[in-house]
């Protein structure tokens, strides 16, 4: 088995048994990145020299019998996470020259585990997009077909893992930005409960929705890295002070007797029949494993996308106010006064979709409109969260499709924002309610991967990971690698 297709547990065992070194592993993956970057455009920055240095250090630690289960294993970070001394762009012209002065907590934790950063991944600008086409650095291409999008906003992270350029990529999910690209690229994407993973140093988009998570080949890999990423952080005011369970040990939780809720609204109009077939086949596997399927309904779920496109732009317009051309980021040339400096720095620094969302957010928060839009959306958000609560009184996990269709063509949905927004129709609900959710590969339609979505109760990460792991022991969809990347 080649180094690049090994699981994290296999890599850890191989490093410890001295079958290969971290330097060899890191070099192998850097060579793969070099070979495929032009085609995929999955990374914004490659940090080869520092990666090789860190790998040599990790080898020293391992040779002395030190380190943990992740020591010496390479990863990539979504370019939304601040990395000390390394350019952190959020895929925006605004931050093209920004070198982060500190590490995000997630970055620091994984560094402390001895993981090796290979680079920073491409994404939609400020994580606003569902196709990776809003990046200042150009779109990422889907490893399964270069004419297609990888999904977004964590498109670069998903493409890197799908193409086996790294075994693990960090990512963030505000409305589906981990799960939707995971589905379109055929990898495992995990969004933990809101507050489970620190947001410190993760450039804010919509603070009541943003959550960091993982893209890996399998649920077992996700459990290993999530155990290292999760936990209370006093530097994040919404971080939850709650012990982190051993997610790896939890993988073996028995599945028999588990009640799975099929969300009626997920299987209504708009779902591609071939996608539906793959999802139903996956549900049949769960039945065979001893789970029971129960239909549940969330009557207001259809309003999740409209509620999101009020709440998220409102919070984004506030969060992105910090980019003013004064302390960091792009500054317009020869401003005639302070107002001109603000306006032109922002007008030039932000791309079209980011500006559209700032404009929408500014409008819905402006005097006279607050009650009609923002307050109303917050109330609808409560209704949807309550309906999820009621569903979870009956079932352990809710399942359904991650996306309505497989990956779509580059440029095919960029003309109308609503068409693009509807890509996240199945994923946004979990963000509004703060629930943990994941997407796992469950089949193919015309050689394109399809994702099965699992949503759990607050802090039911163990239940989700074990359910996904049970499925991945029965199937091999998650081990499929796109042609040309084997």
């Amino acid at each position: 088995m080649s180094l690049h297709t090994k699981s994290l547990a296999q890599l850890a065992a191989g490093l410890r048994a001295r079958e290969f070194s971290s330097v060899e592993l890191t070099r192998t993956l850097l060579e793969r990145i070099e070979a495929h970057q032009e085609q995929l455009n999955a990374l914004i920055t490659v940090t080869a020299p520092s990666a090789m240095q860190a790998a040599a250090v990790a080898d020293g630690v391992l040779a002395r019998g030190g380190g943990g289960p992740l020591t010496g294993i390479p990863l990539v970070h979504k370019d939304i996470f601040c990395t000390e001394g390394v350019r952190t762009t959020c895929a925006s012209r605004m931050l093209d020259n920004f070198v982060a002065p500190y590490d995000a907590t997630v970055v620091a934790k994984l560094k402390a585990e001895g993981m090796i950063m290979l680079g920073k991944t491409n994404m939609d600008e400020f994580a606003m997009g569902s196709s990776n086409e809003t990046s200042f650095y150009g779109p990422v291409r889907n490893p399964w077909n270069p004419q297609l999008v990888p999904g977004g906003s964590s498109g670069g992270s998903a493409a890197v893992v799908a193409a086996r350029l790294a075994p693990f990529a960090t990512a963030t999910d505000t409305g589906g930005s981990i799960r939707q690209p995971a589905a379109l690229c055929g990898v495992t994407g995990f969004k933990p409960t809101y507050g489970r993973v620190s947001r410190y140093g993760m450039i804010a988009f919509a603070s009541s929705l943003d959550q960091g998570g993982t893209l890996t080949a399998s649920a077992a890999d996700a459990a290993l890295v999530l155990r290292a990423m999760a936990g209370f952080d006093p530097r994040d005011s919404t971080s939850v002070d709650r012990a982190v369970p051993d997610y790896v040990a939890a993988l073996e939780l028995p599945l028999a007797g588990m009640k799975i809720g099929l969300l009626k609204e997920f299987f209504e109009k708009g779902l591609d029949p071939d996608n539906e077939r793959c999802v139903r086949d996956a549900l049949a596997v769960y039945e065979k494993l001893g789970a029971t399927l129960v239909e549940v309904s969330l009557p207001n779920l259809g309003l999740s996308v409209p509620a999101y496109y009020v709440v998220a732009p409102a919070e984004c317009s506030s969060n992105l106010a910090r980019f003013d051309g004064v302390r960091f980021g792009h500054r317009a040339k020869e401003p005639k006064d302070l107002m001109d400096l603000y306006k032109r720095s922002r007008g030039e620094g932000f791309g079209a979709e980011v500006k559209r969302r700032i404009m929408t957010g500014t409008y819905v928060l402006s005097a006279g409109y607050y009650d009609a839009y923002y307050l109303k959306a917050q109330k609808v958000r409560r209704l949807i969260a309550n309906e999820f609560d009621q569903a979870f009184a009956q079932v352990d996990v809710v399942m359904g499709p991650t996306t309505p269709t497989p990956a779509f063509e580059l440029g095919s949905k960029t003309s109308d924002p609503i068409t693009m927004y509807l890509n996240d129709i199945y994923t946004i609900g979990a963000n509004l309610a703060g629930l943990p959710a994941m997407s796992i590969p469950c089949g193919f339609v015309q050689n394109l991967p399809v994702g099965l979505q699992l949503i759990g109760r607050h802090f039911a990460e163990e239940r989700l990971l074990s359910a996904a792991h049970a499925y991945q022991r029965e199937t091999d969809w998650h081990t499929r690698v796109p042609a040309g990347y084997e």
């Binding site: 009541s208 409209p306 051309g325 500054r331 306006k343 958000r381």
Partner: protein, 94 residues
């Protein structure tokens, strides 16, 4: 939405916008607002607005103590224009 409204929102958002861009925003904002107007269908009398997704969490407070060391030089390395540890902007007071 009228062009003046678009310009007014752009001003509130501190975004420069040339005349040619305005129709594009008129169109996309109209379509987004019409899309989100679906929210009116929901019955929300007596529903508490939800600002935070986790039930029962309260804003955490910390003691008012200095915890950071002075790192302004490191932070200001990213600034477009600095002099004597101050951020420079165009003259505000005549």
């Amino acid at each position: 939405m009228k062009p003046e409204q678009i310009s007014a929102i752009a001003h509130l958002a501190r975004l420069s916008m040339d005349e040619a861009e305005i129709p594009r925003y008129q169109q996309s904002l109209a379509s987004i607002l019409s899309f989100v107007s679906d929210l009116e269908r929901a019955q929300t009398q007596n529903v508490q607005p939800m600002a935070h997704p986790l039930p029962g969490l309260v804003q955490r407070m910390r003691p008012d103590l200095a915890t950071e060391t002075d790192a302004h030089e490191r932070y200001q390395a990213n600034a477009p224009q600095v002099a004597a540890s101050l951020y420079l902007v165009p003259k505000v007071i005549e």
